[in-house]
């Protein structure tokens, strides 16, 4: 097929793909590269289910064009665990039952990872504000906030 040839890095791997100009990064990740961890919730940047990191910047991949990935470094949920070893945030989400249907979970984990990278010891309020761009219709957020605070504590070695 014809399209825009894009070379990028995803979870540390060099990746090349062809995409159409109007395709979003989320569509490329899911439909062309089989990375279906990022979810489409709203498609308008309101729910955060498609959160990924582009050059260490948290973004909604539904509001990024696939062509914009050229030369960037992208991190998705698929790169979060180290093989079979879960990231502390992933473990704490399971321990605290911080998910039910699971649609929002990859976005929350990516956003929480970004939050803790910028603030290793956040208050509950900072966690709630920091994750305000991620919507969850199941948990009521409390378990998610507790899981993130617990993971932060473990990651600090506290």
């Amino acid at each position: 097929m014809s399209g825009i040839a894009v070379s990028t890095t995803i979870n540390g791997d060099d990746v090349e793909f062809l995409c159409q100009a109007e395709e979003t990064l989320l569509e490329v990740l899911r439909d062309r590269l089989g990375l279906t961890g990022a979810k489409e919730g709203c498609g308008t940047g309101d729910c955060g289910a498609c959160s990924v990191l582009v050059d260490d910047r948290l973004v909604c991949s539904c509001l990024v064009l696939g062509a914009e990935a050229e030369g960037r470094n992208i991190e998705t949920i698929e790169g979060m665990a180290d093989g079979d070893k879960l990231h502390p945030l992933q473990r704490k989400f399971i321990e605290h039952a911080a998910l039910q249907c699971g649609i929002c979970t990859p976005g929350f984990l990516i956003a929480a990872k970004d939050l803790l990278a910028k603030n290793a010891d956040p208050t509950e309020e900072e966690v709630r504000f920091g994750l305000a761009g991620n919507l969850c219709r199941c948990t009521g957020y409390d378990k998610i906030v507790r899981a993130v605070l617990d993971a932060a504590s473990e990651m600090r070695g506290a």
């Binding site: 100009a21 940047g45 973004v59 909604c60 509001l63 064009l65 914009e68 939050l115 920091g130």
Partner: protein, 286 residues
Amino acid sequence: MEYVLPASLNDAIGLLAGAKGNAFVLAGGSDLLVRMKGDFIEPDLIVDIKGIGELAQIVQTADGFTVGSAVPCAVMGENTALRKAWPGVVEAANLIGSKQVQGRCTIAGNLCNASPAADSVPALVAAGARAVIAGPSGKRTIAVEDVPTGPGKTSLAKGEIVEAIVLDKRPSNSGDAYLRFIPRTEMDIAVVSAGVNLTLGADGAVASARVALGAVAATVLLVSEAADAIVGTRLDDTAMEKLAQACSAAASPIDDKRGTVHFRKKVAGVLATRAARIAYERAGGK
């Protein structure tokens, strides 16, 4: 649709000026992609300006700050000098959307999207910010309030791009602040908003001020009567009451699901007084 990532401003202008059909500038895309996917617009050409080096940076000069039109609002929030000089502008810019949107959205985009409820615009208008516009016939610099002409409409001609937003250097006894009313605590669109920017004189009284209101008219309002109400005062109760009255009188909002005319007029005055108080304290006023 074609996507292009030009490396120079002149290339970008040439592409936009020569485009057949609908051409759009892509900076953060947090409005553009939503409008595209909602079928509100059908671009034939998208010109991504993030590859243009000078547009992607904040430059501090002897005269103030130049914020390139491709600089995400999150980057503004991380710029200590800008935050210190223009806290109201930065807090307004950092209220747009979520952390995810912050990583992409820009104040130039917020301005050109021309929503009456745009968060950064009242703060920029209060700050006396200017937009540097580059186009096929050269550059021009206009007040930011002259960019939006109505909801979704701007004064930009075909081929023109906002290159940067310029914020002046100002005396240290100055302060600015932005407040909005939303029914939630985060991630919402302003029902009413107010930006206040002021400088104190040697006597500690307000020497000059600018007051701007958002979401109470088709474009952001610069309310000179509101500024006049506090100039020469230390924000005593009488001055604050006059400020609130001037704002409520100037507001000509619509009734919609987010707020009534009566509510918006009242809250415009309340927010302006609160923002004025914060700006005054930031300026060192007591």
